[in-house]
């Protein structure tokens, strides 16, 4: 061991083993630096002991009265009751019933948000339809959905019996005629995929031509 380790032992003498004690004693006998540190530690401990024995303040009845008076005279007494209510509320929230209530409230809030989300989408859908009817700018897809409805009405006006819903083939034909291009494949799922009858196909051919 070196001097700093011996000095560490000196500072923590309570926890030394007999072997460490003997080693320390042997080292102190030959090392003046560590002896000086030991002496300083002893002096420090004596000084601390002396400080602990100092009586600082015997209980003073007048001082007690002054403290009690100051505490009760203070105008800040009212918050005690307010804090009490807050604490009671805090305690109530730790009860399981209140936890369930809070959880239910949370779910209800989330549900309301979810409903609002769905309702908003529905409203947007209605709005886009209204805009199409007014001839305002909307997406291409929405535009053709609306046009498909118009085509359906045209077909009905010509007293032709066709399916109430346009098939993918029909929509595709209309799109190709109108845009000179293939419609997006994703639209396919928005319309029925039935092939029309021969009579219907004849009608489409005439219409497209």
């Amino acid at each position: 061991m070196n001097c700093s380790e011996y000095q560490f032992l000196l500072e923590n003498q309570g926890g030394m083993t007999p072997i460490e004690t003997r080693e320390l004693e042997r080292h102190l006998a030959v090392c003046p630096d560590c002896r000086r540190v030991e002496q300083a530690i002893n002096v420090y401990q004596q000084g601390i002991q002396a400080m602990r024995r100092i009586t600082l303040s015997p209980t003073d009845e007048n001082a007690v009265e002054a403290i009690v008076g100051a505490a009760k005279m203070t105008s800040r007494l009212r918050p005690v009751k307010q804090h009490l209510y807050l604490d009671q509320l805090g305690n109530m929230l730790t009860e399981s019933v209140f936890r369930y209530a809070v959880a239910a409230l949370l779910l209800l809030t989330l549900g309301l948000f979810g409903f609002q989300e769905v309702y908003t989408l529905h409203q947007l859908d209605r709005l886009s339809q209204t805009m199409v009817k007014r001839g305002q700018q909307v997406s291409v897809q929405t535009h053709y959905l609306w046009k498909a409805a118009q085509w359906e009405r045209q077909i009905e006006q010509r007293w032709l019996t066709v399916s109430q819903n346009l098939t993918w083939t029909q929509v595709r034909s209309f799109f190709q005629k109108d845009q000179k291009a293939e419609p997006p494949l994703a639209w396919r799922f928005r319309f029925g995929n039935r092939l029309g009858t021969d009579e219907q196909q004849k009608f489409w051919r005439q219409l497209i031509r």
């Binding site: 500072e11 000086r36 540190v37 002496q39 300083a40 530690i41 002096v43 420090y44 004596q46 000084g47 601390i48 002991q49 002396a50 400080m51 602990r52 024995r53 100092i54 009586t55 600082l56 303040s57 015997p58 209980t59 003073d60 001082a63 007690v64 002054a66 403290i67 009690v68 100051a70 505490a71 009760k72 203070t74 800040r76 007494l77 918050p79 005690v80 009751k81 804090h83 009490l84 604490d87």
Partner: protein, 165 residues
Amino acid sequence: MAFRELVMLYQGAAHSLARRFVGNREDAEDIVQETFVRVWRHLARFDLDKSFSTWLFRIITNLAYDVLRKRFKQNASITKWGDSIDFVNQESNTDDALQVAMTIRYKAARLPLKQQLVFVLRDLQELSVAEVARILQISENAVKVNLHHARHTIRVQLEQTGEAL
């Protein structure tokens, strides 16, 4: 228990701790009074499962810290500590021990504030490391480190001045 009884029970310990922190009677009395005013105001919020003395000591420590910090800024700590000799019970101490005690107090007043608080709570009030950690709301390791530095500084200064040897 009436509030008066509570004050009577803890006033001595509170005053003793406050005085060990700040060194003079006037500041200690102010701290003790403010401490019990705070106790009165916040007693409803006190968790009865916890130690009252720890809570009380924490309030005192916080108030003392404010006083010491203010002094530190004004560079007035040495002057304030200089008058602390008046309350020493000289009969219970030999002249040498008393001299060393006063030297330690003087040196302790020059320590960083956190070390001062740890030194007073651990070495003078003889509280456990865990209690000191709870009062100061720091880790036990931090208490040990601060205490080691405080003791080392005081001891080295005792050696250097040669007052103790």
